[in-house]
Amino acid sequence: MDEHEDLEHLLRQGLRPRQTPAGFSARLMARLPEASPVPSFRKKRTFWAPATRWATAVVLLGVAGGSYWQHQQQERIAGERARQQLFLALRMSAATLNDVQHKVLRSTTGDSE
């Protein structure tokens, strides 16, 4: 073994990995949340999840609001129609009553004459 190989051999022996200070990984794990709450590949999922939830909520609210508005409109139209029918019925009843009253009056005046 020549001088060069000797030195290389000593370097390999002397440069074996050293032990980390006691508690290294526990201290590191305790720092994880402050560095970044989740690794970036997780972040993709958690980043989109709230957005999707919000979008879904907005769409559902829109659909619910639209159906409610449509239902109110239909009720308003139906109410209006019913009111008109009621007025018509009342007008017709009034006309019929008038007619009957005229006939009764005519018959009673005819009788007295």
């Binding site: 030195l7 390999r12 022996q13 440069l15 200070p21 590191l28 794990m29 720092r31 970044s36 590949f41």
Partner: protein, 171 residues
């Protein structure tokens, strides 16, 4: 997120000594080396989805550990570039026979090298990488890697001929 932290903890436990050793041997002090090693793993945590395989993970850790340790070295005042602090620590930590352990002697020699040579020697002898892989890891031309390696070995041999001979005789 128990799945993620469980998987991440396994990775940390498998590679912490590699990352810490690179940082420690570039910097020469345990406190800063631990900070750098922790930062490397936090960076890995944030970039977890970029990792495509185990080989990629190891190459990523090596590259980021060398770069972050070298950055920390640059940020430190020149008087604290490790050697003085390291000498101080080593003086307090002889082995049972009262002599300096081989690892400490090698680490002392490493700290006398310029940072780029230090990184190349670490990847060559701690990580056992061939020069081509070192060039890829450090994004450095192959000729530069070979030149750093030759100069580093020459300098280390010249500085520590006597001390290293002692280990050769014992070994």
């Amino acid at each position: 997120m128990p799945g993620i932290t469980g998987e991440f903890r396994e990775i940390v436990e498998a590679h912490q000594s590699r990352v810490f050793s690179i940082a420690y041997r570039v910097l020469g002090d345990r406190g800063t080396a631990e900070e750098v090693a922790q930062d490397v793993f936090l960076e890995l945590y944030r970039a977890f989805d970029e990792i495509a395989s185990d080989e990629h993970l190891i190459a990523w850790l090596r590259r980021v550990a060398v770069h972050r340790a070298t950055d920390a070295l640059r940020r430190r005042p020149r008087t604290l570039h490790g050697a003085a602090e390291f000498e101080d620590w080593m003086a307090k930590a002889p082995n049972e026979e009262g002599s300096i352990p081989l690892a400490s002697e090698i680490e002392r020699l490493l700290l006398e090298l310029p940072p780029a040579q230090r990184a190349v020697v670490l990847l060559r002898y701690q990580e056992d990488l061939p020069p081509g892989d070192i060039a890829e890891t450090l994004r450095m031309p192959l000729a530069t890697v070979k030149s750093h390696l030759q100069r580093a070995l020459k300098a280390m041999r010249a500085r520590a001929e006597d001390t290293l001979k002692e280990y050769t005789r014992h070994g």
